[in-house]
């Protein structure tokens, strides 16, 4: 106990005195939470639309003004023919062409209209498909408004959409929990790993290894500061989320802390294990980056797991962030309780025990 205290005292003095780490712990979460939610959006904005209006009716003009009014679209100067518009598409001057055929409005009432044509640049598949979707919705609402004014009913009114848990489909709300997780991985995983490897590079670990200190005590003294730092970081991140984005967890904040504690345990143990197995900082960083990428892309942080191929879905079972993101999004957006999420907590708990045992086991006082 006394040894642990004396080692902790050393770790805290070193962290406090390190000009880089002490600033990083404060600045990193603030910067990430202030900047990243704005840029990690897959919401589609500013899609350039070129209209080829051959109808030139009140309906087609209404469509044009509705598109112009939409926050999703930017209207380019209209084109007189489809070919002219196609040339603009090829020159990347526009993203989507909307071609309204002649006599569309008149034929619509006859109910045998020629179809409206939408052509999209789908190099960015998300932008292409979402842009077209939005465009269809805008056009449909133009038609339905026009019909309403004329006292006609439309089939569109049979469909209404309600988005539960994130009513405005705000992408930030989806990304913020994921960003918090990336923060914890970087702070707890990377810093705890680097912290040990630095001792190896400086040779100070040799002086520890030749002393009678218990290796569990030594590893515990390495881990505890990062547990505290991790909780501090997640608290800053939640505070900023609430102040800047007005997003507070719908469910209990206690579950977020419980999950964070488990997750911090998982990643500090993971970082230390990597550090024990590497000889220098470059090696540690390389391995950690490999895992960071895997976690970010494969754990459902950025893309939904259910859209992945089956084999990848099975692979996510062994990735701890997958369980944490379920808890974070569930508690933050849906207000899920323990009964909905218990298996996620259980999985994180198992990982935490496994990685910390591994961390203690891979640290050897003998070479």
């Amino acid at each position: 106990m006394k040894q642990l205290f004396i080692l902790l005292q050393k770790e805290f003095i070193q962290i406090k005195r390190d000009p880089f780490i002490s600033k990083l712990i404060i600045m990193f979460p603030i910067l990430v939470m202030l900047v990243m939610p704005w840029v990690t959006t897959m919401d589609i904005r500013n899609v350039c639309v070129t209209i080829v209006d051959k109808d030139n009716s009140s309906l087609s003009r209404r469509m044009t003004s509705d598109i112009k009014a939409s926050e999703y679209f930017t209207l380019t100067p209209s084109a007189s023919s489809y070919n002219e518009a196609k040339a603009m598409l090829e020159d990347l001057k526009t993203d989507i062409i909307l071609c309204i055929p002649e006599n569309f409005e008149r034929n619509l009432t006859n109910s045998t209209p020629e179809k409206i044509n939408i052509s999209a640049n789908a190099v960015n598949a998300t932008k292409g498909s979402l842009g077209s979707q939005y465009l269809v919705q805008t056009i449909m609402s133009s038609i339905s408004k026009q019909n309403q004014e004329k006292g006609l009913s439309t089939p569109l009114e049979l469909v209404t959409i309600k988005n539960y848990y994130n009513e405005t489909l705000n992408y930030k709300y989806l990304m913020i929990p994921a960003l918090m997780i990336i923060l914890l991985i970087v702070i707890c995983g990377f810093l705890s790993a680097v912290n040990i490897v630095i001792e190896k590079e400086n040779g100070t670990i040799e002086q520890i290894n030749v002393s009678p200190i218990n290796r569990f005590t030594f590893i515990l003294a390495k881990l505890i500061p990062f547990w505290i730092i991790g909780l501090f970081v997640i608290s800053i991140a939640m505070l900023i989320t609430w102040l800047v984005y007005g997003l507070a967890p719908v469910g209990s904040i206690g579950y977020i802390y419980l999950a964070s504690i488990l997750f911090i345990l998982v990643f500090s143990g993971f970082g230390v294990t990597i550090a024990n197995k590497s000889d220098n900082i470059q090696q540690t960083m390389f391995v950690m980056f490999f895992f960071l990428l895997t976690f970010m892309l494969l754990s459902g942080l950025l893309t939904p797991i259910s859209s992945m191929p089956k084999w990848a879905q099975y692979a996510t079972i062994i990735l701890p962030p997958r369980y944490f993101i379920d808890i974070m999004r569930g508690v933050y957006l849906k207000g899920s309780g323990f009964m909905d999420l218990w298996y996620n907590f259980l999985a994180l708990g198992i990982f935490a025990v496994a990685f910390n045992l591994l961390a203690a086991k891979t640290y050897k006082k003998q070479g």
Binding site: Q9, K10, I13, R17, G203, E206, Q207, S211, P212
Partner: protein, 246 residues
């Protein structure tokens, strides 16, 4: 016959197909200053690490401070001090914080820690440097501080791996005065060095060549045996046979 504090029998260390230490045997008596010489790559550090419990021997057995080097390495660590050739105090801690840390690791009480720290400050004339970061001390001072901290828990044996490498002659002298003082107080000193004048200060000297101990005796006897005027001559005579490069 004085007490034997280190005794090893035919210990070897093999890394893959490279035999770093090849069946060495020797004994060290209490209070001796035991010089452990050898050219670079002769296997000195590897041998020393096995004695300190930092590495297990591939073959052979031995005891240090009465404990088995295979089975009781943690007990050995409680009874030895170690100073490696690479400076290994914490550079971003102050002199006092380093002393407090290592005193704490060896389980010294607050009272003892304070008292030993005062002794160190007095002995090294370090009172002013108490709150200086170790990183900003000159190398010679760092080495003296390392030695004081390696012996802070009054170990039976202290292992010094090239403690005076890169240190100026005056500081080297002061360093050896510290070694003598520790030896007079009953601490056994096990030291490796490349300076042959330092070898002359040792009670007994062993010379390692290619992983084996080629000679072991007092400096006077060795000089007589090889008909040499100085340890330098003895060393060059033996090291010339080395087949291993650096």
């Amino acid at each position: 016959m004085k007490d034997i504090v280190i005794s090893v029998k035919e210990i070897s260390k093999v890394f893959g197909d490279f035999t770093a230490v090849d069946k060495i045997s020797f004994e060290v008596r209490k209070g001796e200053i035991f010089g452990f010489l050898g050219a670079n790559g002769a296997g000195k550090t590897t041998a020393m690490r096995m004695l300190c419990g930092l590495s297990f021997p591939t073959h052979g057995s031995g005891t240090v401070a009465g404990f088995d080097i295979r089975k009781q390495s943690e007990e050995i660590k409680r009874n030895i001090g170690y100073m490696s050739q690479k400076f290994s105090l914490y550079n971003n801690l102050t002199v006092w914080e380093n002393i407090r840390l290592f005193a704490g690791i060896y389980g010294l009480s607050k009272q003892e820690t304070k008292q030993r720290a005062e002794n160190i400050f007095k002995q090294l004339d370090f009172e002013k440097e108490r709150n200086t970061l170790v990183a900003s001390l000159p190398l010679g001072w760092k080495q003296k501080l390392s030695f004081s901290i390696a012996t802070i828990h009054k170990p039976e044996i202290v292992f010094l791996d090239e403690p005076t490498g890169g240190v100026d002659p005056i500081t080297r002298r002061q360093f050896w005065e510290m070694i003598y003082q520790a030896s007079n107080e009953g601490t056994t000193i096990f030291v490796t060095t490349h300076y042959m004048d330092e070898a002359e200060y040792c009670s007994r000297v062993s010379i390692m060549v290619d992983g084996q101990i080629r000679a072991l005796d007092t400096p006077a006897n060795l000089k007589k045996l090889y008909n040499a005027e100085s340890m330098d001559e003895v060393f060059r005579h033996l090291a010339r046979e080395a087949k291993r490069g650096e």
